[in-house]
């Protein structure tokens, strides 16, 4: 019986140590066919190590690593993936068309050069040497190299770093098109709005472990905080003294209040300042949720260390 829900990429309790440093400490990850999973986490959380394991660049010290049910170091598994890494200095004197032709030659049924160039928006760059391109153009070419082999799974490591807003939007559109064609994507990014815009699921890592996995909405809901903004004459100290308020600051005359009990705080605000204007209440964004989650994990880790000491 076929199992349609078997993950196409999987880490199971993966451990990777570099000397004293434990980069991955029992990491679990499952990527289903057709979805975009965003892997988030602060620097040093183990994202790059997780990706390197799934690409077969390094071997795990313990746990399982599978790509299409196989060892990623097997070339048959890697013929089904496309890769965009953070820093790969491609041969500077080769032209974009030549780089695409070379990379496409590794795959069984690659896209045509025209199709690849069209999708990645590099049609006008094919004759240019790689070294003569701007940083953003080079990223687009790297994206083109990732998709030229008609992969079933794309690894995109910080794909939009160094791109301007328009280029970023175009890349997002191209990623959505690939997803619509049934391609799966594993994305790592520092830009939370990128995860919000693209991801079906997000997975948050710190200290070599996954601390949260779920939809973007679920991640947001993990954090009950709300943001209140308003124009008010109330002093910061007054507002801060209210027990329900977690944080308050003033930016350009506007009060920014963070609280878990928005209704109570709004009532207090309206009672205390009859001239209060432009009241807004928002659920905290992915950024706050992310900060909150990783800070909790940091505190837990500190406590562990203190207890151990």
């Amino acid at each position: 019986m076929p199992h349609a829900h078997d993950p196409i990429a999987r880490l199971g309790g993966a451990v990777k140590r570099y000397g004293q440093l434990t980069a991955l400490d029992g990491a679990d990850l499952q990527l289903q066919r057709g979805e975009l999973l965003a892997l988030l986490g602060p620097n040093g959380a183990g994202k790059t190590t997780a990706i390197a394991l799934l690409l077969g660049l390094i071997r795990a010290d313990a746990g399982t690593v599978e790509l299409f049910g196989q060892d990623p170091q097997r070339i048959e598994a890697r013929r089904r993936i496309g890769v965009m890494l953070q820093n790969a200095e491609l041969p500077p004197t080769l032209r974009v068309g030549e780089l695409l032709r070379l990379t496409a030659s590794y795959y069984p049924t690659p896209r045509t050069l025209e199709e690849t160039a069209e999708l990645a928006g590099v049609s006008d760059l094919l004759k240019r040497p790689y070294a003569k391109l701007s940083g953003g153009q080079q990223r687009r070419v790297q994206f083109a190299l990732a998709l030229c082999g008609r992969p079933e799974l794309l690894f995109l490591d910080e794909p939009t770093v160094g791109m301007d807003i328009e280029a970023r939007q175009k890349l997002w559109a191209a990623i959505r098109q690939l997803l619509a064609e049934g391609c799966s994507v594993l994305l790592t990014t520092h830009y939370l709005e990128e995860a919000e815009a693209l991801a079906d699921r997000v997975c948050v890592m710190t200290h070599g472990r996954m601390i949260h996995e779920g939809t973007v909405e679920e991640l947001r809901a993990r954090v009950a905080l709300k943001r209140i903004r308003c124009l008010s004459a109330l002093s910061i100290d007054t507002v801060r003294s209210w027990p329900e308020v977690n944080d308050v600051r003033r930016e350009n005359e506007r009060l920014h209040i963070t609280t878990a009990e928005a209704e109570v705080v709004v009532r207090r605000l309206l009672a205390a300042d009859l001239h209060l204007r432009e009241l807004e209440v928002q659920r905290a964004g992915l950024a706050e949720a992310f900060t909150e989650l990783t800070r909790d994990a940091d505190e837990a880790a500190d406590t562990d260390q203190r207890e151990a000491a």
Partner: protein, 262 residues
């Protein structure tokens, strides 16, 4: 587990053999193209030994007779062939490991041998150019009389003899990343050439150095090159086998390191 494998493998596209060969050819083509467009990397590697030969093998050795010039053609030929092997292979590998290109290629489904074969071909071409340069200088300026067969044998010796040095360069390239590699390779290249009798004939070196000379692959290649130009009448099979073993040994060591550490 059985079902997992069957599901995932049944939908995998099959790579026909013709496309695998195509990937090898594309890799070799790209490797040649990129270095031909950036002659600043390979040119000094090829010209350095040629200049050495011109100074010491042709200009300085004029008074010593034709046999001396013939002798120096063989030993400087070996000296010249080592350079594209050690530097062409070792330095480019060290730089590409540093710059992330090798990591990228390892993540891609590039046939593992294609990358090495591309670089190997490049080194063989460069070694061929070095020998042709030296041959030209030897015949025109040095008045060395060589039969076409001898010239061909020397060319073949150079183009195949570069391979053990490719393997050694590759191994060093896996040990050292980036800018440190050229210095380290010089530390191997120059002393090893001297101690193999490539600059001064071995009998002129201290007894101890003469005794340990068979450790160095360049000594064995020199013996083969001497035979090619007609100065060594002894059997060369042992030397060829030593060179072969040397090449395979370092290739395996390097491949192991690359697979483990990238």
């Amino acid at each position: 587990m059985e079902t997992v494998m069957s599901v995932n493998e049944s939908t995998a596209p099959v790579m026909p053999r013709s496309r695998v060969i195509g990937a090898y050819l594309e890799e070799a083509r790209s490797e040649c193209l990129r270095y031909m467009r950036a002659p600043g990397f390979m040119l000094p590697i090829m010209l350095f030994p040629a200049m050495f030969y011109l100074l010491f093998g042709v200009l300085m050795a004029k008074s010593n007779g034709a046999d001396a010039a013939r002798y120096l053609l063989a030993s400087y030929g070996v000296f010249g062939v080592m350079s594209p092997g050690l530097f062409g292979f070792g330095v480019s590998l060290a730089l590409e490991r540093d710059g992330g290109l090798l990591t990228f290629k390892r993540a891609l489904p590039m046939p593992p041998g294609a990358y090495l074969l591309g670089k190997m071909l490049m080194a063989m071409v460069a070694a061929g150019v070095v020998i042709l340069l030296l041959l030209t200088m030897a015949v025109t300026l040095g008045h060395v009389a060589l039969s076409p067969l001898q010239a061909g044998a020397l060319l073949l010796t150079g183009m195949l003899g570069v391979l053990p040095f490719c393997a050694l360069g590759m191994f060093v390239g896996t040990l050292i990343k980036g800018q440190g590699a050229p210095g380290m390779l010089q530390l191997i290249y120059l002393p090893m050439s001297f101690m193999s009798g490539l600059w001064f004939p071995l009998p002129m070196l201290p007894k101890f150095l003469q005794q340990i000379a068979p450790i160095w692959p360049s000594y064995h290649l020199d013996m083969v090159a001497m035979a090619a130009v007609g100065l060594n009448k002894e059997a060369i099979l042992t030397h060829v086998l030593v060179l072969l073993a040397f090449a395979i040994g370092f290739l395996l060591l390097a491949a192991r390191r690359l697979r483990r550490n990238g």
